[in-house]
Symmetry: C2
Subunit: 555 residues, 2 copies
């Protein structure tokens, strides 16, 4: 492709994405996400529907005070209500107050929705579209017209659906975005309908005297949202609307994290600045953290497993030539290749991991087989080292006799007392948690006690109290995430629990794992190993610094 | 479409699906899944690779003893090794020992894989394909030939790739399945390549004197596995290979739970017996339970959210006419419409829920606004009632003064002691958990104590001990699942914990929720409400039975 054609990315994570079941974004969350999208180079960011939602009014105000660097922030709203003028409609006022250059207006394309949803006439709906677009245009707004339920409307009453577009174009919209609101359309239908619409629009554009471009907005109810958007682009659509991680109600919207690399890397379109594409995986993960939704580890391009290789043959082949098992190079989208440690792993995977940890281990070493054996036993018990690489490093070091002993946990007690239990859902009842810890550092035995607002935090405090005098670097260690997975949930409260804990010391991150039928024990195992691993890293660093520092001259 | 064309569904959940990161299936698991697929009417079930995997040999033996009712069970294996005859290859022996009618053989289509992966010549690879197919055909096996890396191979060396197919057809294969092994191909490429292959195959089939049909096997690395399979079917492919829930390594395989309804409901192909399609959602959920992988709640057709309606406008529209916001009717695929209870929920959602619970509540009732308010407060604290409908019913009953009191929990203590902590990953250490519970039933106060293998099971035992004398029906209540979600994981061990607990009494299921920074408290709240809800259901039933039983005649 000699010259890349532009496809405009329009992100609606903050509006349509916010409809995801289980997702609730604060204004601060929305600000963080919009900054992240701006940095990524997304040209249009739909911020919400100010007016329909009081939070969104504030969000637009906040961004008026501190505008985005590159992106156009766009408010979303419906065409005016039946029976009012656009100037009278109270819902259009906050849209103007948002003081943006662009406004997205959505209107009805499907006669069924006009009559049963809006309960108005087909003619009044046309007037609503015309009035709203003309009114906002006169206020110097550029318009993106979202033709809601376009594909269903077109299939049910083609003439009327097309008339809504003719009216929108005649009234001055810059964009027509065809929406598959219910997500029921398949790619071949998208192709033919986009092509037909594109042809139908020619004379209307000429008459209106200005260019109108086509966009596409798809939902994933048929599992083809990405393919549908691609099909539309291949028929000339120049804007794709979607969300980060495919968030959205029901089955979600078109996933921009999939769509952008497909369009840019495979079809040669210009979507994001080329040097920004590697920001896609970090953006996806950060936004899932802000949204507090577990990331889809199997997501194309950006998922943790997207470039994970498990079987022994795959691993050796992909090391020889990545093309053999990878459709794109992971680092182009900011992801990385992973060699998965699992009981299907061969020896070569274990050796590969050891060398990543900076440990020398070869096939002939007796520890190699021992590690593989231990790995299988532990995975059978419910351990999982795919994510908990710090625990896996400790396991290898143990086998190699290279695991220094920083402390020796002797035992711990936890007492949780809850009294005056409130009836249904009152604030936390009268509850106290006390933990005691017995730990040895060298020959010294230390006994500490601490309180906490839960059993794990009490234990963590007691352990820190015991160790910080010996290892002051520990004050920098923080738990950043704590995940619990019930392994065999069907055995009820006796189920085994797997706990993953993420730590940071400010510049490195590591993850450890613990498994037990007792959640406190599982948590504690992960926390203890996390602290041990942090101390190990810290001592290695101190050693490296010592080596690189010249000895002071004797005076 | 007057007469439905057949598209053969080929399930590879047990082989390619088993490559999913984090998935490990026992033989019992595999048996359960194969029974489920057989019941669903899937015509081909790939059971594994007997020989490469000792578990798979046993699995095929077990199914020889108890064969499936309808489906063809198919073993998977590679063409013979370079330099051996097919009869000599030790990997082909267990395939014959499996005594199936069909065998799937995979071979290399891409010259790069032949030379770098297999390290053999292009000619030897052709001989490997020819020999293996002829040998197995002579043993009366019908052959499905999986052309691995087909699309990459075809794009890189078209002549060689086609030659592998010509050889496979000449050697007697019944099916040619084109595999997009790396998942990098987009739908328009699939369309044109399948069309070209289909034309190229014509003369070879005529020469071979038997019909050879085309199949498609896609992976989801580009997020288009389903669309790719559909594109191939539209070009004449008559078999689709995929997995339940899209399991598979990296980004997974084509999801049969999406593909089947698309092909059958939207494109009119004949895939499953029409009365079996409603088994799809239950099969998807059961298999995710057996696989012990959290179901994708946003999965098309079968996900919990696939037909969930959140916004107030949607809810009222969809009640008037389901077509307005649903692309297919949920019950056709065994799913159901859900009205989501969330802080975006309007009053109409709350009223709808109440009526589903059999409670009379209208807009004018002062409790309505109170419930809505309480809902928002609790959701803000981290509660989620979308899944925990039993807790939501108790909340409504509370507001309506229709929540009977079965018992009154006064307080509880939990003591966890862990001593002689073992170094790294030894079996559970010397640990004991003791729980005491103080509860009132009517005026009577009961104090009990129990041990358990974790804090929640100890508490559950102590509570049951206290209550069972009053409510013997409790012995039938069982916890069937227990889920923990850390709400703000980034605050580390002080994070809030949300616990969901599933109960059953043998014929009904219900779910409750608890939230606290203290996981024990959160768990306990959910367990207590679960028991209360079970007692409520039981008392309602007893009442209903009493009403329907005629009074005994006085003697």
């Amino acid at each position: 492709m000699p010259q890349s054609e532009k496809v405009w990315i329009y992100d609606t994570t903050l509006r349509d994405g916010a409809q995801t079941e289980g997702l609730s974004l604060s204004i601060e969350d929305k600000l963080k996400i919009s900054l992240q999208l701006d940095r990524l180079g997304v040209p249009f960011i739909e911020g919400g529907w100010p007016g329909a939602n009081p939070k969104d009014i504030q969000f637009f105000q906040r961004l008026q005070e501190n505008p985005l660097q590159q992106a156009e922030l766009v408010p979303f709203c419906s065409t005016r209500r039946p029976g009012l003028t656009a100037a009278e409609d109270p819902l259009l006022r906050p849209i103007l107050a948002a003081q943006t250059r662009w406004v997205t207006l959505f209107g009805k394309s499907w006669d069924l929705h006009v009559t049963t949803g809006l309960k108005t006439t087909l003619d009044e709906n046309l007037a609503m579209i015309a009035d709203s677009i003309s009114y906002l245009s006169r206020q110097d707004r550029c318009i993106i017209y979202d033709a809601e339920h376009w594909f269903d409307g077109y299939k049910n009453n083609r003439a009327y659906a097309l008339e809504t577009l003719r009216v929108a174009i005649a009234s001055g919209t810059q964009w027509i975005v065809l929406c598959d609101t219910n997500g029921g359309t398949l790619p071949h239908e998208i192709s033919s309908i986009v092509d037909e619409v594109s042809q139908a629009m020619q004379p209307w554009q000429e008459k209106a005297g200005h260019d109108v471009q086509l966009g596409i907005h798809t939902h994933n109810d048929s599992g083809t949202a990405v393919a549908n958007a691609i099909a539309a682009v291949q028929q000339g659509a120049a804007m794709v609307q979607g969300t980060i991680n495919g968030y959205g109600e029901r089955c979600g919207n078109a996933n921009l994290c999939t769509l952008i690399p497909n369009l840019q890397l495979k079809l040669g379109y210009d979507c994001l600045p080329p040097d920004q594409l590697s920001g896609l995986t970090p953006a996806s993960r950060l936004i899932s953290e802000i949204a507090n939704l577990a990331p889809d580890e199997h997501a194309p391009f950006v998922g943790l497993s997207a470039f994970a290789h498990k079987g022994g043959i795959h691993v050796s082949a992909v090391q020889k030539d990545p093309r053999t098992y990878e459709h794109v190079t992971p680092d182009v989208v900011g992801n990385r290749r992973r060699i998965v440690i699992s009981d299907q792993a061969g020896l070569s995977n274990v050796l590969e991991k050891a060398s990543l940890f900076g440990l020398t281990l070869d096939k002939a070493h007796p520890a190699s087989r021992q590690i593989l054996q231990e790995l299988k036993t532990l995975e059978h018990q419910g351990y999982q080292f795919e994510a908990a690489e710090a625990s896996f490093e400790l396991l290898i070091r143990q086998a190699l006799d290279q695991r220094p002993s920083f402390f020796d946990l002797q035992g711990f007690d936890v007492l949780c007392r809850t009294h005056d239990v409130p009836q249904n859902y009152a604030a936390c009842s009268n509850s106290s948690v006390l933990a005691t810890v017995s730990v040895k550092v060298g020959d010294q035995r230390i006994l500490t006690a601490a309180e906490g607002n839960g059993p794990v935090s009490a234990l963590d405090s007691a352990l820190r109290k015991a160790l910080v005098a010996f290892y002051p670097a520990m004050v920098e260690f923080h738990l950043t995430d704590y995940k619990v997975r019930i392994l065999d949930g069907h055995t009820g409260t006796s189920a085994k629990t797997r706990v993953l804990v993420d730590f940071t010391n400010g510049h490195q991150r590591w993850t450890t794992v613990g498994v037990s039928t007792n959640i406190i024990q599982a948590s504690y195992q992960a926390v203890t190993e996390g602290i041990e691993y942090g101390l190990l890293r810290q001592s290695q660093q101190a050693e490296a610094e010592l080596k690189s520092t010249p000895l002071p001259l004797a005076t």
